[in-house]
């Protein structure tokens, strides 16, 4: 190398340096460019452009910052950056559906986004700053956002008591309890299993053939095409017995095993031969039996299927089992014993013990055995004969293995603990924790739950879970309820947010307690939050109704609400028993803040009543909902007998504020003045069927005396 060239760079080296410098700069530039083009920054800028195109730019951009926006609530484990892109979340002017997402305002809800964050309800990844990572399952982050349709599940994670704003969740929880899911699974908020019938003495009740049929196809009412349209979910009244995937020999073994279960002989009752002789040849026997069956309002609890114009429908309540084909099912001796005393056969029966005359018992049982039948029901059943020892042994093993014992108790075989998986934390599971087997479904929790509910084997070939037939709405409701089972609160700090369910109980005492149990008042009526929902809440019945009226009503219930199909059954209650119930309700089942002496009936003058009539008919037009005489609406109860039925104190309290007495009543609260209230009360107290002769059935025992209205 010549000396003059020492220290000089060759062209090649220069080029190398130049290129590497440019490269260095470029590489360094990648990071800022990437940062500038970050997804969330694009949304930030596009929000500014969007706001500038609107007239209220200034307000929309008032607290704009170009940085990541974050709701940080350490106490609740919330770090939500959702508002970085969802910048209009709390801008009321952006509520329109025409506002493009992600800028639309959140609909007003009781929980403010600044105090609660987003992921508490919507789930998804709070800290994520990219659309995919925030909303969907990615490799790094698994929890996807909860589909809007199942959002009520999140309400249920904290609100363990039902709230009115979440009908879908409430329905789902109802179904979980109704179908006794907690028999096999552990579920939060469902501790008490709703048992199916005790099978200890089932051999006396049904034949082996019927058990065989039932195990094969637990729905017995089919439409003309042979499809199950009733007692399947389409009617809303699923038979609680699901369908198990049993092999032929398993069904034979189980039916054999059950047919020999005769632990406790039935209390046979022989209908006096005189009654039988008088009626058995009478052509009216069956039709009179049907009339009694209808009069006693059996259909208030038990549905019957009715086919009209090719469409099969179940009509009636769903408290008791469907009875369309029960005559082919049960043994006549058992039926008579059951009707006389349900508790004699089944300790936890929900069926009231009616007071029967021998004649009625004979007529109704003959009607049930001869008319509610289906001669085709058992035709395709193989001749089974008596069960062999082997079948009984195998049946006993299957009874435990298949989980029958989870719902049905049977002598010597108790329920199995933790038969199915614990589901208390199912709603918080990640897709990777679930088994999808070969099912061709999306790998996420919602589709897993729905597939499992519809076809348990498809996601787990070894599943023991039986099959249910759901309609779409119920499937979604149950899915919502299961998604709400998110286990204990994620951190102990969150535990205080959980609103526990109140334990309701109503413990009557004395002679009434016995009657309460005998007539199963709680199957339909609620007392202090405990009991059924079919009939009016009776927690304040003593404040509402007059004692005399209660006693008369119990002996001869009539319809207060004109459109009701499901009505109070005719218990054939004795005068003495009706008196005991009326006494107890009138004295012990009261609303403490209604003072029965607050209104003196003597103050109510005919002038007041005349003014009340004017108010009722002209100013307030109450007849739009209530019936007096033959005219008026069908929404509220008819007031024909209000003077004998209601207490003055109750009417006044009710007119002041109906919701205070019955929170979900639809009668609106009005602006009545005290004078108007007094006048309306005076008018209502003059309404008595004894005078008006409206309710012919009740007229006989309706009071005609002009005694004071207040007790």
């Amino acid at each position: 190398m010549p000396a003059e060239e020492m220290g000089k760079l060759s062209d090649r080296l220069r080029l190398t340096f130049a290129v590497s410098t440019v490269l260095c700069v470029l590489v360094l530039a990648i990071s800022p460019v990437k940062d500038y083009r970050a997804e969330w920054k694009q949304y930030k800028r596009s929000f500014v452009r969007f706001a500038q195109g609107r007239p209220d730019t200034k307000r929309l951009l008032a607290d704009y910052s170009p940085n990541i926006d974050q709701v940080w609530l350490p106490g609740m484990n919330v770090t939500d950056r959702c508002t970085t892109c969802h910048q209009g979340v709390s801008q009321p002017s952006l509520a329109e559906a025409s506002v493009p997402q992600p800028f639309r305002a959140h609909p007003p809800i009781p929980h403010n986004v600044r105090d609660w964050g987003c992921t508490i309800c919507h789930r998804g990844q709070g800290p994520a700053t990219e659309v995919a990572e925030a909303h969907e399952t990615t490799l790094a982050w698994e929890k996807p956002i909860l589909p809007a349709h199942y959002l009520q599940a999140s309400c249920g994670s904290c609100h363990q008591a039902n709230i009115k704003e979440t009908p879908q969740l409430v329905r789902g929880r109802e179904l979980l309890a109704y179908l006794n899911c907690q028999g096999c699974h552990k579920l939060a908020g469902l501790e008490h299993p709703a048992l199916g019938p005790d099978l200890s003495s089932v051999g006396y009740k049904v034949s082996r053939e019927w058990i065989y049929k039932w195990l094969k196809e637990p729905r017995t009412v089919l439409d003309k095409d042979g499809n199950i349209t009733v007692n399947g979910y389409e009617s809303g009244d699923e038979s609680r017995m699901p369908k198990f995937r049993l092999k032929e020999e398993e069904i034979k073994a189980l039916s054999g095993f059950l047919s020999v279960q005769k632990a406790k002989p039935i209390e046979t009752y022989k209908i006096p031969p005189g009654v039988v002789a008088a009626w058995s040849k009478n052509p009216e026997l069956i039709s009179q039996g049907e009339v009694r069956f209808r009069q006693m309002m059996c259909t208030t609890c038990h549905p019957l299927s009715v086919t009209r114009a090719g469409e099969t429908k179940l009509i009636g309540g769903n408290i008791g089992p469907e009875l369309t084909k029960v005559g082919t099912k049960v043994n006549e001796l058992w039926l008579i014993a059951w009707l006389r005393n349900p508790k004699g056969y089944l300790e936890h029966a929900n069926m009231p013990r009616y007071g029967w005359s021998d004649e009625d018992l004979y007529k109704v049982s003959q009607y049930v055995m001869n008319k509610l039948t289906d001669s085709d029901l058992l035709t395709n059943i193989p001749q089974l004969g008596a069960a062999t020892d082997e079948e009984v042994k195998m049946g006993k093993r299957l009874f435990a293995e298949k989980g029958c014992a989870s719902c049905h108790s049977l002598n010597g075989l108790g329920t199995q603990k933790d038969f199915g998986p614990d589901l208390t934390a199912l709603g918080g599971k990640n897709a990777s924790e679930l088994e999808f087997s070969k099912a061709k479904i999306q790998h996420n929790l919602v589709s897993y739950i729905q597939t499992k509910l519809q076809d348990p084997v498809s996601v787990n070939p070894a599943a023991r879970m039986p099959e249910y037939s759901w309609n779409q709405a119920d499937l979604e409701a149950v899915t919502t309820a299961l998604l709400s089972q998110t286990g204990p609160a994620p951190t102990s700090a969150l535990q205080h947010l959980v609103l526990a369910k109140k334990d309701a109980s109503f413990q009557p005492v004395g002679a009434f307690a016995e009657l309460y149990e005998r007539y199963k008042c709680y199957a339909c009526h609620k007392f202090d939050g405990y009991g059924g929902t079919l009939a009016p809440d009776l927690s304040y019945e003593g404040s509402r109704a007059q004692k005399k009226w209660i006693a008369e009503f119990l002996q001869n219930p009539q319809t207060i609400r004109p459109t009701l199909i499901l009505r109070m059954p005719q218990f054939n209650m004795s005068e003495q028993n009706a008196g005991i119930v009326a006494d107890y309700l009138a004295l012990a089942v009261q609303k403490p803040d209604i003072d029965p002496t607050s209104v003196d009936a003597k103050q109510l003058t005919p002038q007041m009543a005349a003014m009340g009539k004017q108010l009722y008919e002209v100013k307030y037009q109450c007849q739009s909902c209530h019936t007096i005489g033959g005219t008026g609406g069908y929404v509220g109860p008819n007031l024909n007998n209000a003077g004998n039925w209601l207490t003055t104190a109750w009417i006044e309290a009710w007119l002041r504020n109906p919701q205070a007495l019955q929170p979900d009543t639809i009668e609106p609260r009005r602006n009545f003045t005290e004078d108007e209230i007094r006048a309306l009360t005076a008018y209502l107290m003059t309404l008595r069927t004894g005078i008006k002769q409206q309710n012919t059935k009740n007229a006989a025992n309706g009071s005609t005396s002009g005694q004071g209205a207040g007790r």
């Binding site: 090649r12 080029l15 290129v19 440019v22 490269l23 470029l26 590489v27 530039a29 990648i30 460019v33 990437k34 500038y36 083009r37 970050a38 997804e39 694009q42 195109g53 609107r54 007239p55 002017s93 329109e96 559906a97 025409s98 997402q101 609909p107 007003p108 809800i109 990219e130 659309v131 995919a132 909303h135 969907e136 996807p144 956002i145 589909p147 809007a148 349709h149 959002l151 009115k164 704003e165 879908q168 459109t563 002209v618 100013k619 307030y620 037009q621 739009s624 909902c625 008026g632 609406g633 069908y634 929404v635 109906p658 919701q659 979900d664 639809i666 609106p668 609260r669 009005r670 602006n671």
Partner: protein, 166 residues
């Protein structure tokens, strides 16, 4: 100078690479999938096979409607026949767009809150202002708008402070 083309290729490659690194995320953005489905649905009253999707507010309105209003403002109720035929003048069906689309939200709110007689209409429509909260009343109106046939269109007021610029 034999390696010059290789250099150029490398340069071009690195620039492309940088562009890709910074721009790749744009294509990865997700499109709204089933995960963003509607909150609730209501079958079209005239055509039960058609489902109208409801947002949160409309769905709450649906709940209020089926508790308080359905008895007179629909032809069938969940509990059997409706009371509509017993009331004169006959109440409007809640999905009757021809009748209700012309009424403003404010008017609807007033008639629900104050009742018919306060607005010179039938006293058979009772006031619900003390029974329902203002939010619930708004929700019922939102539900009415959602199920309206013909469909409800918010009155456009071009040039007013509520209009969006194109």
């Amino acid at each position: 100078m034999i390696r010059k083309p290789a250099m150029v290729a490398f340069l071009v490659g690195s620039v492309l690479c940088a562009a890709w690194l910074s721009g790749c995320k744009k294509t990865a953005a997700v499109t709204p999938s089933q995960a963003f489905g509607s909150y609730d649905t209501e079958p079209d009253w005239n055509d039960a096979t058609k489902l109208i999707s409801l947002g949160y507010e409309e769905s709450q309105g649906r709940r209020v409607f089926y508790q308080y209003c359905v008895w007179c403002h629909a032809d069938a109720t969940p509990a059997g026949p409706s009371n509509r035929s017993n009331v004169t003048p006959t109440p409007a069906l809640m999905n009757d767009g021809e009748k209700l689309n012309g009424e403003s939200d404010e008017y609807m709110q007033n008639i629900i809150t104050l009742g018919g007689s306060a607005l010179g209409k039938s006293a058979m429509m009772p006031p619900y202002g003390k029974t329902l909260s203002p939010d619930e009343i708004k929700q019922v109106i939102a539900f009415t708008r959602a199920i309206a046939q013909p469909a409800y269109q918010k009155p456009g007021r071009p040039g007013s402070q509520y209009a969006t610029k194109p």
